[in-house]
């Protein structure tokens, strides 16, 4: 039995009858690994990334990434609507980006917690299609085909896929998770992420900042004291965090970043160059053709990846009307083009160091996180900024998810490996209240350790006034209009009194997720004031509730039923493959005994499939798989022999597992 993919390499010498791909991940972990039958439900750690998402958990003393059905660890953050209006997520959705781009979406993280006015620049660079009937002040909705979804709903599709992957792996339901967010995410962006979790059927126990999570994964074995800088450049966001590690305590001293800076921006630069070239050289303006732009994007990403290890590459794009575009790019040209983007990380790094009160010599270790840190120019920049060689031993694509799994373990009560560990994180942005005249009074300063609270007192300006309006903002600017509007609160139910007499005590609490909670009371009467919150960019509780209900497909969500459906699909696949196998000359090479066994087990499987007994179907599949292993090997050998003629296995790239260095390239292989 071959359980390939993920951290365990595809085992040589065993082949599955169901050919194609490195071997499907099995839910039969329940049979072959009885220790996975857990009575206490596991908490999973999720990296919900701009480009790729992952799910991980703590297995004994090590965090481990859970692969998808295709055996791969990375799930591209791509969502599409297929021909039957079914939602497709991940690798399978990528082809829709090129074939039917109006029915697919990528990098939805860039839209989380933002309003229509915020994303005008984004709309110029990304093919996001807004719903036609969007009212001002309404939460964003994106068109996929003829349906519309809010960004949290789209993220929820991705989260649901990860949840399923975990449930399949454990053979048990999962309902609680730790999800990571960029450290520089504001309140609205965090709330949107939590909403996405709820819509996906997950109780989000904690939102963890991505650089902090990465440091957890790195610091798992370390018990000494060290000052660490984590430089996290992903697909769409950049974070820099400075931490102090001390005997298992991970204390963030300062953090800074840019929530709209990442690999996507590099891709867009290259796409713009290609579009200009094509227009100049070939006289074709292909900007309006979404399919062509997506084809260009795919090629540009491949080139970007190649230039991380090669000194030059060729952009080779097939255009409509049989035309083609070929262009050689050297690493030098590439670096010249992208250095303005990379240089945008310098400002936040300097500010974080200043806030921490440190100079580079005082940093003990620098750590690289995020796929974009594979770019040699980024490596050089980090080396210059911190005056030392940065660490990159852990896979920069996986380290955040691994850290989330460690935190999930801590929240679940901890284990031998994590019992001394504790995260002390900070809020990245100052919290303030708009004052008369439009200025901001800061009540919680950036880089304050959370949880953190501040109490402010308000009073009325008019006789008999029964409510007070408060506008809360996040940011460092002096004027409220230059900061990020978080919410407007109406404190109601104030007993009517002369102006200036009521003493309303408002407590602003930033919880451990960095999300704001407000309580208020009128100090004289001791009465709790009623608070009506208008989030500036977000879904109300009612909206989230109705989305949860809408998305709940009973047959699918019911874990047991889903297991049976998936097992049946697998049974169909193996029976179909066996049909083919019988016609293959290899069938004749089996002994009579072997063929008898296969016949018997095939019938046994067919008998059990119509029933709802998941275990029975599962064991029948496994038995048949076992019995057909020899046949599969014979068929594989002859197929390999025919196709390869003289090449060795290595050069033919056969059996290459998910160990290739670039996430995008990896996804391509599996198409």
């Amino acid at each position: 039995m071959n359980r390939a993919g993920g951290k365990t390499a595809a085992r040589e010498g065993t082949r599955s009858l169901v050919l194609g791909g490195p071997g499907r991940n099995r839910g039969n972990a329940a049979l072959s690994a009885p220790h996975r039958q857990m009575t206490t439900e596991r908490i999973i750690g999720i990296d919900l990334g701009t480009t790729n998402s992952l799910v991980a958990y703590m297995e004994n003393d090590r965090p481990v990434v859970i692969p998808g059905e295709d055996g791969l660890n990375l799930v591209p953050s791509v969502v599409a609507l297929d021909e039957h209006d079914q939602i497709i997520v991940g690798n399978r959705a990528r082809k829709y980006l090129i074939e039917t781009p109006e029915r697919a979406i990528y990098s939805v993280k860039r839209l989380m917690g933002r309003g229509v006015e915020d994303i005008q620049d984004e709309l110029k660079l990304f093919p996001f299609r807004l719903a036609d009937d969007l009212a001002p002040g309404e939460v964003l909705r994106i068109k996929l085909g003829n349906k519309t979804y809010t960004p949290p709903e789209i993220s929820a599709f991705i989260l649901r896929q990860l949840k399923r992957n975990a449930e399949r792996y454990f053979g048990a339901p999962v309902s609680r998770a730790v999800i990571t967010v960029p450290a520089y995410f504001n309140d609205a962006q965090r709330q949107a992420t939590k909403d996405a979790g709820r819509i996906a059927g997950l109780e989000v126990l904690r939102l963890v900042n991505e650089p902090t999570a990465a440091s957890l994964a790195y610091g798992l074995d370390k018990r000494e004291t060290a000052t660490v800088a984590v430089y996290d450049l992903g697909g769409g966001t950049f974070d820099i965090s400075i931490l102090k590690l001390h005997e298992g305590i991970f204390e963030v001293i300062a953090t800074n970043g840019d929530t709209h800076l990442g690999g996507d921006d590099i891709d867009n630069l290259l796409i713009a160059v290609a579009l200009d070239d094509i227009q100049g050289d070939l006289g074709m303006d292909v900007r309006r053709s979404a399919e062509t732009v997506q084809t260009i994007r795919k090629a540009v990403i491949e080139a970007k990846v190649a230039l991380s290890s090669q000194d030059e590459t060729v952009l080779d794009i097939d255009l409509p009307d049989g035309k083609g575009y070929r262009r050689r790019i050297t690493r030098q040209q590439y670096e010249q083009l992208i250095s303005p983007v990379i240089d945008r990380t310098v400002g936040p790094v300097r500010q974080a160091m200043k806030d921490a009160g440190l100079i580079p010599a005082q940093i003990d270790e620098a750590v690289l996180v995020g796929g974009s840190t594979r770019i040699p120019l980024v490596h050089k920049l980090v080396e210059n900024q911190f005056e030392r060689t940065p660490h990159a031993e852990l896979n920069p694509d996986e380290v955040v998810a691994l850290g989330a799994a460690v935190q999930a373990n801590i929240l679940g009560g901890g284990s031998e490996a994590t019992k001394e560990m504790l995260l002390l994180d900070v809020t990245p942005l100052s919290l303030g209240i708009e004052s008369l005249g439009g200025g901001v009074v800061k009540i919680i300063h950036r880089n304050s350790t959370i949880p953190e609270s501040a109490t402010e007192h308000f009073t009325t300006g008019v006789e008999g006034q029964t409510s007070v309006a408060i506008h809360v903002v996040q940011g460092e600017r002096e004027l409220a209009q230059d900061c990020r509007s978080l919410a407007r609160f109406d404190l109601k139910g104030i007993p009517p009194m002369p102006a200036g007499l009521p003493r309303i005590e408002v407590k602003f609490l930033l919880d451990a997720n960095g999300i704001l909670h407000v309580t208020a009371r009128e100090a004289r009467s001791g009465k709790e004031a009623e608070i009506e919150v208008q989030p500036s960019y977000g879904l109300t509780d009612e909206q989230v509730e109705s989305m949860i209900l809408e998305s709940f497909d009973y047959a699918e969500e019911d874990f047991q039923k889903r297991q049976v459906i998936e097992a049946r699909n697998e049974a169909d696949a193996i029976l179909a493959a066996l049909q083919k196998g019988r016609k293959d000359p290899a069938w004749q090479q089996l002994t009579v005994r072997e063929r008898d066994d296969v016949d018997k087990l095939e019938n046994a499987l067919k008998a059990v499939v119509p029933h709802d007994d998941y275990r029975a179907i599962r064991s029948a599949i496994d038995a048949l798989n076992q019995a057909t292993m020899h046949l599969a090997e014979l068929m594989m050998d002859s197929a390999v022999g025919t196709v390869l003629k003289g090449k060795t296995l290595e050069t033919a790239d056969v059996g290459r597992g998910p160990a290739s260095p670039h996430p995008i390239a990896k996804a391509e292989i599996q198409n």
Binding site: R206, I410, L423, G437, V441, T449
Partner: protein
């Protein structure tokens, strides 16, 4: 100072360091410390305590910051919401509130100036509005800001303010005046020097205060004049330091550092 609230009615909620615990743990009944039960480890309900009492420290300004950090970490390990994630929701609320108290207390006591300001506030001192917000508000509304200029700096500040106004005007019209900028840089250097001089002044004012605390602890009655003298000395240093800090901010803004 602190009002006692008693949700479980089984004893008086204390607001003093754990050494003088008189109340019982709501969970196991053992005698409890202020923050968590020494016996069973459960988080105790929050109480409105001042930051010194929170850490079980006397009201002295000289403070072992390494020890403070150790206590901060030790208390975080017990009180933090992550560690209490599987507790009952009531305990989780307590842990959330206690940890934010802890974080506030640590941040305030860790820094020498905020520690001093905090103690002065506990002693009833009302601070003049020195904040940057007030500066902005004053500038915008054109009214004079309420701020006492340290007397020995009057002339210097007068000159500096003129230069700052000139520089701001230049910025608006886009003019460059390198010699003016150099003047401002020199002034900045000067002020930073003055700020550094204050560090030792602050230290000796602390010693003055701490001596009074020690004498009071040993039973001596401290006269108002002695107390007020120590307080006023610290207050004038803190005010001066804040004034300098605001000036430096204004210079930095104009020089765009």
């Amino acid at each position: 100072m602190a009002t006692n609230e008693n949700p479980d009615k089984s004893g008086v909620l204390i607001d003093a360091p754990s050494g003088t615990a008189t109340a019982q743990c709501w969970s196991c009944g053992a005698m409890r410390g202020a923050h968590y039960c020494q016996e069973c480890g459960k988080v105790q309900p929050p109480a409105p305590v001042d930051y010194f009492a929170f850490f079980g420290l006397p009201y002295k300004l000289n403070l072992d910051t390494a020890l403070l950090e150790r206590d901060f970490y030790a208390l975080s390990r017990r009180l933090h919401p992550d560690i209490n994630a599987r507790a009952h929701s009531r305990e989780q609320e307590w842990s959330l509130e206690k940890t934010s108290q802890l974080n506030d207390a640590y941040r305030t006591l860790k820094d020498p100036v905020s520690r001093t300001e905090y103690l002065l506030r506990l002693q009833g001192v009302q601070f003049e509005e020195q904040s940057k917000a007030a500066t902005e508000e004053a500038r915008r509304s054109g009214t004079a800001k309420k701020q006492a200029v340290p007397s020995d700096l009057l002339e210097e500040v007068f000159e500096l303010n003129m230069r700052l106004e000139e520089a701001r005007l230049n910025k608006k019209t886009g003019e460059d005046d390198p010699s003016l900028e150099q003047d401002l840089r020199n002034a900045r250097q000067n002020l930073v020097g003055k700020q550094n001089d204050m560090v030792s002044a602050l230290q000796s004012s602390w010693n003055q205060w701490d001596t009074l605390v020690d004498r009071a602890a040993s039973g001596t009655r401290i006269g108002d004049e002695d107390r007020d003298a120590a307080i006023n000395r610290m207050l004038s240093i803190v005010n001066r330091r804040n004034y300098l800090r605001n000036l430096l901010r204004e210079i930095d803004e104009v020089l765009e550092r």
